[in-house]
């Protein structure tokens, strides 16, 4: 009997190599699904960005070089025109049912009604890169060139800087509770977080997550012992899942962090092209989508995307 138990224990250990994970550890084994690799879902576009989830099973994206602008991919993989909005680099659905879009080239943020196609201008004379819309209707967007995070309250038209100083603020997302705002620094190594105050202010600024970068093989002193690492992560578009994990598109791939800011792991890029953004969308919001130049890839994961408009 003893021998049998020992055998069982050994067998269990060898089958389950992750037997000693702590229950709270959101390891890669709790995210990836064996056999589920990146799959090409959209091809031959101009330059895709602004991946976005709705309240449905569709996936939405922008082709920044097309006249049409915004497309959707249906669960059966069909790519269809969605709304007309040119040069959108970031977009999210808002609680009012409209799609808010960052149009940096035209220095504005617009809202498009998907039913009528009607476009309203929410803010002008801004340089938005990416945006997120909270349940209360507040819009936070990154103005990368100005090193600024800006708040827009469409109801009142209020528009003001809420943070200045991140080297190149780029991707932006909320925590599941919407009590924390996270901003990736394209030219730095951190994802910065803030407490979101009721009036929209950002407080408690922290370099909460540290993104991995590649060893810098050119600049380091060849006699130095430790490797030099690149100081720009290429931290770009971000997403959040319902377990509180944060996802960032970076030069090295998709980097995932747990709610406490620890690194869960790095997902390999689907191609050698840079990835500009990431989101969870599709059926049950259970697919991780990345935009990479003229292509979009997705993979099924153990995770469900958080949506912020409801």
């Amino acid at each position: 009997m003893k021998r049998f138990l020992l055998f069982c224990a050994t067998a269990a250990l060898s089958i389950c190599s992750q037997a000693q994970d702590l229950a709270g550890d959101l390891t890669l084994h709790r995210l990836l699904i064996p056999g589920e690799e990146w799959q090409l879902v959209v091809d031959k576009q101009g330059f895709v960005d602004a991946p976005c989830a709705g309240d449905d099973d569709n996936f939405y994206f922008s082709d920044m070089r097309s006249e049409q602008g915004v497309f959707r991919v249906t669960p059966d993989g069909k790519v269809e025109p969605f709304v007309k909005a040119k040069g959108v680099s970031g977009m999210k659905f808002a609680p009012d049912g409209r799609l808010y879009c960052a149009q940096g080239g035209q220095k504005r943020i617009i809202a498009v009604d998907p039913k009528t196609g009607e476009t309203s201008v929410l803010a002008t004379n801004v340089q938005p890169n990416d945006l997120v819309v909270a349940r209360n209707g507040h819009v936070y967007f990154t103005e990368t060139g100005k090193k600024q995070v800006t708040l827009l309250i469409p109801k009142t038209g209020e528009l003001r800087a809420v943070d200045i100083g991140i080297t190149a603020p780029n991707g932006i997302t909320l925590s599941t509770s919407q009590g924390t705002l996270a901003v990736s620094d394209y030219r730095g190594i951190h994802v910065w977080t803030f407490r979101v105050e009721e009036n929209g202010d950002l407080t408690a600024k922290m370099p909460y997550m540290t993104m991995r970068t590649a060893p810098d093989t050119e600049s380091s002193d060849k006699r130095m012992r430790a490797p030099g690492y690149k100081t720009a992560s290429g931290g770009d578009g971000m997403a959040t899942d319902t377990r509180g994990r944060f996802y960032v598109a970076t030069t090295m791939g998709v980097q995932v962090f747990d709610p406490t800011g620890r690194e869960c792991g790095l997902l390999t890029k689907p191609s050698d092209k840079a990835i500009t953004s990431v989101t969870l969308a599709g059926p049950k919001h259970g697919f991780l989508y990345v935009t990479a130049a003229d292509k979009i890839f997705r993979r099924k994961v153990q995770g469900e995307g958080a949506i912020f408009f409801k």
Partner: protein
């Protein structure tokens, strides 16, 4: 030319508190099984597959000298290419690259790779494989090199993380060999091998470029803080599994010095590869910082590394 291993004086046996439990168990079991054998540490000998056999067709070894690299500027190095007797220019051959090439290429040295390859290819235990044996670079300004182990750029090239060495290997060496020989471009058909710093170098190439090399053979690997290589066990656990097959060998009496503890570092590597469900094998003996154990099991290791090659075509 001599084929000495880079043996450093062994500082001290590891303290009992550090002696790895699994090694202790192994020694205990071994002691039970063969009570009469007095065993000296690092007592490993080459087997018959490492000896030349009259009825085995012999491949050729072509020596090259003074390779001038654009990636590692102002360095020079010698290198060799082994071409098996069974090589057919019409069929792409597999590739295996050896760092510290001088230690592997000799017929009388520690490793005797050409002899082992002759035997294994003849037996069908591994595919027709072109061997590429590369010495580390030596800065031209430092004058004539008398001992290949002292090549001045060795640590920079081998211990550094990142893609620099792979750019040299893939961008500069492989194209030269490919001019003369039909090499496979299938990454599953390309292996890379090294000992000590050469081993972490081999791992780094596959880690950075799994699209180019997917088989790694590491003995007494320096996964320690010579130049930051101690991070690998942690990177492996937090990086989506790469499609690599990795062999690791180390010994309980390997180095323990300011840069780290080699036996522990290799056990960490093995544990991390296991944690991420890699196709890996770890052999842990009682050797020192030498190639005796690695070389003694090299034929079996190659059989493991190339297993399934007939079914997979690589």
């Amino acid at each position: 030319m001599t084929f000495n291993s880079p043996l450093r004086p062994l500082r001290s046996a590891l303290g009992p508190g550090h002696f790895p439990i699994c090694a202790a168990l192994l020694v205990f079991i071994a002691a039970l099984l063969c009570p009469r054998t007095a065993h000296a540490i690092d007592d490993y000998k080459l087997g018959p597959l490492s000896m030349e056999q009259a009825d085995v067709p012999k491949g050729r070894v072509i020596a090259h000298t003074n390779f001038a690299s654009k990636v590692f500027t102002n360095t020079t190095r010698d290198w060799w290419v082994y071409v098996p007797a069974q090589y057919d220019a019409k069929k792409p051959a597999n590739v295996m690259v050896f760092q510290d090439g001088h230690d592997y290429v000799g017929l009388k040295g520690a490793w005797r790779v050409p002899t082992v390859f002759d035997a294994l290819i003849h037996r069908g235990d591994m595919p027709v494989t072109i061997g590429i044996f590369i010495n580390p670079g030596h800065e031209v300004s430092r004058g004539m090199l008398t001992n290949a182990w002292r090549a001045s750029n060795r640590s920079v090239e081998y211990d550094s993380l990142g893609d620099r060495y792979s750019r040299f290997l893939i961008g500069e060496i492989l194209p030269v060999v490919a001019k003369d020989y039909n090499l496979t471009t299938n990454a599953d058909g390309r292996a890379i091998c090294g000992a000590s710093s050469g081993a972490i170098c081999a791992f780094t190439v596959a880690w950075e470029r799994p699209d180019q090399f997917r088989k790694v053979l590491s003995t007494i690997g320096s996964f320690t803080d010579l130049r930051g290589g101690n991070v690998y066990p942690y990177l492996i656990r937090k990086t989506e599994r790469k499609p690599l097959r990795v062999f690791l060998q180390d010994g309980a009496n390997d180095l323990d010095n300011p840069f780290g503890n080699w036996p522990l570092a290799n056990q960490m590597m093995a544990a991390s590869l296991r944690y991420m469900d890699y196709d890996y094998r770890f052999v842990f003996g009682d050797g020192q910082h030498s190639s005796k154990h690695g070389a003694s099991i090299f034929p079996e290791t190659c059989q493991w590394l190339w297993r399934g090659w007939k079914e997979n075509g690589r």
